[in-house]
Every structure is written in structure tokens, then in C-alpha cells.
């Protein structure tokens, strides 16, 4: 593992954008983990409405009298948890479909990948909107919709990787030893196919944050005050502009910086893991 650590340090030293991305993501994680212990108020405490920034309310209060800083800091938690949950759903579902398609081949492959083609022949944001419409406008359903819509990209990538790995000698060897197909798939093929999935997962977390925020902005996330989530906080501010202009600005900036962090990191990882673009 220390070899991996050394490689990571060398990678970040050479790849400035990835370093910036790592710092941004680390800052957001740190805020989500430690922030609530540092700030003076809880997100549910009620104060004077629309208090000016300053004093014990560095960012002021919102239209309900909640402290904006508290909501933003707790919002880092919910926003990240929601994005990671969506992305994980995409990852697990997409990896399963892609791995089975690539490993089984034949009719199963054909059917699964045509399904993926069809799913990808709809604009993904519209597909997510319609999925929420079918499931009902609630935050949970937004998570599911964004997760489902993100899965096909993973499926395609994993299938391509599996097809590459299946013809490697160690897999041929494992098969000729007579190991069961599921064991070959899970212990030999999949672990060696996951490099690009890490890249997609990093980039996917960023785009999940954007999609969730977008769906929430359209009012598809249900009750906007149920949890502090950045997209919902932005939307509340937007609905109370111009009094809550600062709220919109701050929430949007937080989303932008976090997504930018994941994208910088993901792009860097792609360069590092892709032998074609590596060290050129």
C-alpha cells in the first residue's frame, strides 16, 4: 500500500490540476466532517428572518430565520451523501450490467447493451425528470432517478474493460482450471476492470451533484426545507430574491467549487490511468 501512496504523491506533484482538485474535495469533506463542531448554530435554530450578515450569523439568516452558515455547513454533508448515494447506485447497477454483458457475451450481451443504447438515446436530464415524475417528487426519488440515469455510462465502460481483461492469460488460465464462472468474474475479471470505473465514479459524483441540484431547482425534490441540501438552499434563495441574493450566490458557489474539484480530480486520474495520454 505504501507503493500506492508514493505513486499518489508523485502523481499529485506532477499533475497540478489534480492537486487543486484534491485540495477542493478535501476542503469540502473537511467541512462536512468537522464543520458542524465549529459553527455557532444548528441548522434548525430559528432567529430573526433575513438578518444581515455579521456577528454570530456570518452569512446572515434566510427567509425562515435559519442561520445560513449552519445550513450551508450541514448542507455539505447532505449534498455529498446524496451525490455519493446516486453515484453508487449508477456504479453498482452499471458495473453489474456491463460485467454480465461482457462476460456472458451472446444473447445476454446483445439484449443488455441494446437496452443501454436505448437508455442513452434519451437526453439524460429529461430522463431523470420523467423518472421523478413517475416515482413522485421527493428527494429520495431524485437520488434514485439520478442514479438510474447515470448507470448506462458505467455499463458501457465496464463491458469494454471486461472484454479486454477476459482475453488476458490469467483469466484464460483460471477458466481452464475449471473455476466456476461467477468466481472467475468476481475474483479475476472485475477487480482488473475497475480502473476506469474509479475515474467515472469521481466525475460521476460531480455530475450527480449538478443533476440533483438541477432537479431540486425545478421543484422536483419535494419539501425544500426538509433537509439542508445546497440545491434546495439555492432554490429557496431564488424564490425569495432579491432579499436572499446572497443565499443564491453562496449556495451556487459551493456547488460550483465542489463539482469543479471532482472534475479536476477525475480528469487527472483519467490522464494517469490512461496509458495513451500518460506522460506526453
Amino acid at each position: 500500500m505504501s507503493g500506492g501512496g508514493a505513486r499518489a504523491v508523485a502523481f499529485l506533484r506532477h499533475h497540478r490540476p489534480a492537486l487543486v482538485g484534491t485540495v477542493l474535495v478535501a476542503l469540502v469533506l473537511l467541512t462536512a466532517a468537522g464543520g458542524p463542531a465549529v459553527i455557532p448554530h444548528a441548522p434548525g435554530d430559528v432567529f430573526e428572518r433575513f438578518a444581515e450578515p455579521g456577528g454570530s450569523h456570518p452569512l446572515g439568516t434566510d427567509s425562515q430565520g435559519y442561520d445560513l452558515l449552519a445550513r450551508m455547513v450541514y448542507g455539505a454533508r447532505t449534498t455529498l451523501v446524496i451525490a455519493v448515494a446516486s453515484m453508487t447506485l449508477s456504479l453498482v447497477l452499471g458495473t453489474l450490467v456491463g460485467a454480465v454483458a461482457g462476460f456472458a457475451g451472446g444473447v445476454a450481451d446483445m439484449l443488455l447493451m441494446r437496452g443501454v443504447d436505448v437508455a442513452m438515446s434519451f437526453p439524460s436530464f429529461l430522463l431523470a425528470m420523467v423518472t421523478v415524475a413517475v416515482l413522485g417528487p421527493r428527494l429520495e426519488n431524485v437520488i434514485v432517478a439520478v442514479g438510474l440515469v447515470g448507470a448506462p455510462v458505467f455499463a458501457r465502460q465496464v463491458r469494454a474493460e471486461v472484454l479486454r481483461v477476459v482475453s488476458e492469460e490469467y483469466v484464460v488460465a483460471a477458466r481452464s482450471l475449471g473455476l466456476p464462472a461467477t468466481r472467475v468474474l468476481f475474483t479475476h475479471v472485475l477487480p482488473n476492470s475497475l480502473g476506469p470505473v474509479i475515474v467515472l465514479g469521481t466525475l460521476g459524483t460531480g455530475s450527480a451533484i449538478l443533476s440533483v441540484a438541477g432537479l431540486n431547482f425545478l421543484g422536483l425534490g419535494g419539501d425544500p426545507y426538509r433537509v439542508p441540501e445546497w440545491g434546495l438552499i439555492l432554490t429557496q434563495g431564488w424564490n425569495k430574491r432579491p432579499d436572499a441574493n446572497l443565499q443564491v450566490a453562496v449556495a451556487g458557489l459551493a456547488i460550483f467549487v465542489t463539482v469543479l474539484g471532482f472534475n479536476l480530480l477525475g480528469d487527472g486520474l483519467k490522464d494517469e490511468l490512461d496509458p495513451r495520454t500518460r506522460r506526453r
Partner: protein, 355 residues
Amino acid sequence: MFAYVLRRLGLSVVLLAVVVLATFLLHHALPGDPAAAVLGKQYTQAAAFEMRERLGLNDPLPWQFLHYVEAVVAGDLGRSHVSNQLVTRELARVLPATLELSVAALLVASFVGVGLGVFTATRPRTWWDVAGLTAALAGVSLPIFWLGFLALQGVGEGGLLAHATGLRGLPLGGRFSPAEYSLGPWLESHEGATGFLLWDTLFVARDPQVFLHVAKHLLLPTLVLSTVPMSVIARITRASVGEALLQDYVRTARAKGLPARTVVLRHALRNAAIPVVTSIGTQLGYLLGGAVLTETIFQWPGMGTYVVQAILNLDVKPLQACVLVVAVGFVFVNLIVDVSYAALDPRIRAGGGGA
């Protein structure tokens, strides 16, 4: 080439069939009883039963599907139960608004995106390159509704620029400001108006003043909507032109003494065109879906705001129709992209691969 186009056409037909089936199933997947939605306050069990009978909801599913296909083919997309208007009529109102915005945004995105990509690719590893790539990455990381908000705060009416300079600032939303002109009567008073306002004001009404008014409304939404596709196109152009510039034929062209301009435009860009054209095509699909957020911020009376209302009201027919229209548009755009691939790439034209 012909065989390739034919095969590609076959795939599109299959996709269209799946799209029609999917929109049909959507009707049944949506929560709530459509009959109750139509009846609203006049709901009684007997009336609901009768309404279900009238709407054909008691028929077997395959039978309902056949009726649905028949109606769609005949151009009958049903009525909205909220406005009680024909959906086709409402689409005729909202679709031009979205298309005008999307096409304008795609034009801006393509020209600036390809330009930026070529500009950075020809200056690899300079500050220009780094700045361009960083801007493009920032562009795909922006929540577009936040960008719209910032744009309005900056250059909109009553925004920062207006305060600083005393200028009026750009309109805050809509395609037409009702205070000055009213869109519906204006369109009706002009025979042959298409709903594409730039065209209508310039070529139908021939009124440069109204044209300017309309263009001012279009400017900010277009710029905001174009950011994401512009960034994607710039990144792909940068990558593929950058790769092409490292190839032997570029070295040969340079060694022949061709001017740098010719080398870049005729040799590098042309060989890099396929991924660029693909990205432009897929971005048009993105725009048709992604215009939703932009339209919401700028109160643009297009399909985006229409579909959001349909979802929030569980208004089945408009929702079905919008999904149908966007998906069909998407299928056709992809078809055109793949065919223009073939025109650009002799390997596919020859009928060989084309996977």
C-alpha cells in the same frame, strides 16, 4: 455509403418504435388515476368509471397501445387536462421558443467552442492553453441556473452594470416584454409568422426595432445555455486537433512549406472533425433537455417550462408529447450525425466497419 445509411435508418426506426412504446407505458407508470385527473372536482365513482370507459382505459393494454399508435401517427397528441387545450396546439406555441433558443445557443457554442479548441491546441503547454482548458472545465462544472442568476445580477435590468453605468441592462426574462409589446396579438397580426421571432421580426414584419427588442431578450439565455456545450466542444476540439497536430501528415504538410493556417484548418481540423461533429450533435440533444433550467430562470415560454408544469401537475398528455418530441428529435439528430460521419470518413463511406 448507401448500405450504411440504410442500416443506420433501420436502427432509427427501431428506436422510434421503442420511444413510442416508452411514452405509452409512461401513461400507465405515472401515479394517480387519469380519469380522476380529468374529472377533477366532479369526481364520483360512477363518473370515473364512465370516464375510464370513454378514455379507453378499461380496454386490454395491447388494444390501448394500438389506439395510441394510431393517434400519434395521425398527429393527435390528446388534450391537457389542466388547460383543456389540444397538446399539438400548445406545442406549436412552445416548440419554436425552445428551438430558437437551442439553435442560437448551439451556434454560439460551436463557433466559440471550436475556435477556443483550435486556439489552445495550436499553443500547447502555454498559458493560453492552460487558461482555456481551465475555463472549459469550469464551464462543465457550473450549475447553469446559478450562472443565469449571476448574469442577471451583473448585466440584467437593475443589475450591477446598470447601476455603475446608468445603462438600462438586459431584460430579466421572457421573449417579449409585455409592457412594450404583447407576443400573442403580435404573432396573430402578422400573417405567415412562424413563432421563430428573429425570423418573424426580420423577414415577416420587417421591423428592425422589434427585431432588436427580441434579440435583446434572446441574448442572455443563449449565452447561459451555451456554456456547457461550448466547454464540451472546446475540450473535444482541443484534444482531437492536438492529437492530429502530432501526426506525420501534419509534419509533411509543414515540411512542404504550407502556411500554418492551411496546415491547421485543412489538415489537422479536417482529420479531427469526427469527434468534434459528434460532440456538436450530442450537445444539441443535451440542449433540448437542458434548456429546461435556462428556460425556468429566464421565464422563457418554451418546452422546458411546459414540461416542468406538466410533471408538477401530473398532466399526462403534455408530458407524453414532450418526451415523444424530444426523443424523436434526439433520434433524428443522432441519425444526421452518423450519416455526416460517413460523409466525413471515407472508411465508413466505403461500407466497411461503421460499428
